[in-house]
């Protein structure tokens, strides 16, 4: 029987993989991937808690909202990144340093 703890462990793992991607990788698309992983970790948590810990379906509803919002956020993020690539011909985060005093 799969318990709550295994779900939590997987979501924590996803969360940290996402964080590591965002901190360590310099590729902007990889950072967007990291964001998606974090959002999915949260969605997994919601469903698992809703099944095991709480006696309501708020978690299921919340996870549906998360999926929709994650899609919207990814769409906007990718659109901006594509536009940035068209202007600068790079998607390396270290080269985005024009905004300085």
């Amino acid at each position: 029987m799969i318990s709550l703890v295994s779900y939590l462990a997987i979501s924590l793992l996803l969360f940290f993989i996402g964080l590591t991607l965002m901190i360590a990788r310099k590729n902007i698309v990889a950072i967007l991937l990291g964001i998606e992983l974090i959002l999915n970790a949260a969605a997994l948590n919601f469903v698992a808690y809703s099944r095991f810990a709480a006696s309501n379906i708020d978690g299921h509803i919340f996870s549906l909202f998360v999926i929709v919002i994650a899609a919207a956020e990814a769409a906007v993020g990718l659109a901006i990144v594509i536009h940035y690539f068209q202007l600068k011909e790079t998607i390396h985060i270290d080269e985005a340093t024009e905004l300085r005093n």
Binding site: I35, I38, N45, N56, F62, I80, N101
Partner: protein
């Protein structure tokens, strides 16, 4: 039961009107083919829509506080007042966008669509009463903000700012959501009232987990209001965005975020459990660091937009100080501060917009000798700068005074002392700009193009409330003392 939910809509009319305005703006924006006529029409529709929204908010002001839609949303006088300030701020940025050359003419109507969209998110955030509506509010605000930031398509600065905003925003929203998911697991509910009821009973491992989850939860809110240590995006985004967008960002998302923090803090952490004490201690450190970092970083900025960005971080620190007080005095002071802050920010950005229209840049050197060519504008702006710094007798002084006196009333002496020191630091950089405008000789360039007589009048007109609110503040403050926060239980 279902009909009862539907009947609640009558209290939700302002938001519905804002949504309707956004949809009709989108429709007209797409339907018209003639650019010139489309823009005029869209501006008129936006103006009428928000004016009606404002009237409906005023009509809502007197009603009994109420929680709607199965306790998802609270309508009380505090949130209604905050929404009124946000609507007024949006209307003001409409005028700035109308005057500004910083966004392309063809995109001005789109600016209106997105500004009203962010406003809808802000209204939702200001009256959110469970985790889901709060998260939806934050994301509605954020996703549209990313697009607004990168509106100058051919400008690499604007695109870079939008990209940074989207990345940081996505990360913090994700972290916040992760925190919320654990809060849901710990408390078994997403409603603030039920979480608040369960907080005092926490102990042991659950308490530790809850503290960590609440800290993760704060990341998203702190990011939205640009509180330390999540303020790093703010100067970059402010500098890269077009000026009307910057003005908008320093008003609507910030005030909405502050309103959400006030509601979360008072609803969840009103008692004196160890959880509440941790949250308040955390907010205290954040407030102190936010105002200090904001004011010190603003000291040697050359770009006025960037300076205003750091100064608005400083103001957020003051507002957070009002949150820590956690009583009615604090919320009244926050409302008053928000009102004055809105007028001051609008004027500052309108003048910056007019100057940068002429010179194509917002560097401080271009403000030199402004008083010789445009005395009315320069003097109004100087008054605003004094008010931002908190010099009597202007509104900014009363706003700061109210917050500090509320803090002293709750025996928060250290933070009040630090706030007072911060006002002195702030005086330096505001006066530096005032000195540039008044004492430095102008370089004999011609007048500001596009700075018509009307825009001078608007600048002066926006300054008048700041002066009046500084002298006759009793009435409005008294009015706000009715704007109580409704705690749903």
């Amino acid at each position: 039961m279902k009909l009862a939910l539907l009947a609640n809509i009558s209290f939700y009319i302002p938001e519905l009107i804002a949504i309707l305005t956004m949809c009709s703006l989108l429709f007209f924006e797409a339907a018209y083919s003639d650019e010139e006529r489309k823009r005029t029409f869209v501006y008129i529709v936006g103006l009428i829509g928000l004016a009606v929204c404002m009237i409906m908010l005023v009509a809502n002001l007197g009603t009994e506080p109420k929680s709607l839609f199965a306790k998802a949303v609270v309508i009380d006088n505090f949130s209604t007042s905050m929404k009124m300030i946000m609507v007024l701020g949006t209307l003001g940025t409409f005028y700035i966008s109308y005057k500004s050359n910083d966004i392309y003419e063809s995109l001005k109507s789109e600016y209106l669509v997105m500004a009203v969209g962010v406003l809808v998110g802000g209204m939702l955030l200001a009256s959110a009463n469970n985790m889901l509506t709060l998260y939806l509010g934050v994301e509605t605000l954020s996703i549209l903000s990313y697009v607004m930031t990168s509106m100058k398509r051919k400008d690499s600065l604007s695109t870079e700012a939008g990209m940074k905003y989207a990345l940081y925003g996505g990360i913090t929203a994700g972290v916040m959501l992760f925190g919320i998911s654990h809060l849901y697991g710990i408390f078994g509910s997403i409603h603030f009232a039920e979480i608040a009821a369960a907080i005092p009973a926490l102990e042991g491992a659950k308490l530790t987990a809850a503290i960590v989850a609440f800290l993760l939860f704060f990341v998203g809110l702190g990011y939205k209001v640009a509180a330390f240590p999540f303020h790093m995006w703010s100067p970059d985004v402010y500098q890269g965005s077009p000026i009307p967008v910057t003005a908008f960002f320093s008003i609507v998302p910030k005030l909405a975020g502050i309103a959400a923090i006030v509601r979360v803090s008072t609803t969840l952490f009103g008692g004196d459990s160890s959880m509440s004490l941790t949250w308040i201690a955390f907010l205290k450190v954040t407030a102190i660091m936010t105002m200090t970092v904001g004011n010190i970083s603003a000291l040697n900025q050359e770009s006025v937009k960037r300076m205003l960005a750091f100064s608005s971080i400083g103001h957020v620190g003051m507002l957070l100080m009002g949150v820590i007080v956690m009583n009615e005095m604090g919320t009244n002071a926050i409302l008053y501060y928000a009102l004055i802050y809105m007028f001051m920010t609008l004027t500052a950005f309108l003048v910056t917009c007019l100057v940068s229209n002429r010179y194509g840049s917002d560097k401080m050197v271009y403000f030199r000798g402004l008083v010789n060519e445009h005395p009315l504008m320069a003097i109004s702006f100087t008054i605003i700068l004094f008010s931002l710094a908190g010099v009597p007798p202007f509104g900014g002084f009363i706003a700061k005074f109210n917050i500090i006196s509320a803090a002293i009333d709750s025996k928060l002496y250290t933070i009040s002392f630090i706030a007072a020191i911060n006002s002195v630091i702030a005086l330096y950089y505001y006066l530096r700009l005032a000195k540039t405008m008044i004492l430095d000789p102008s370089d004999g360039k011609d007048q500001l193009r596009g700075a018509s007589f009307v825009s001078h009048l608007v600048v002066a007109g926006l300054t008048i409330p700041v002066i009046l609110l500084g002298i006759f503040w009793g009435k409005i403050y008294h009015l706000y003392s009715f704007a109580k926060l409704y705690i749903d239980s």
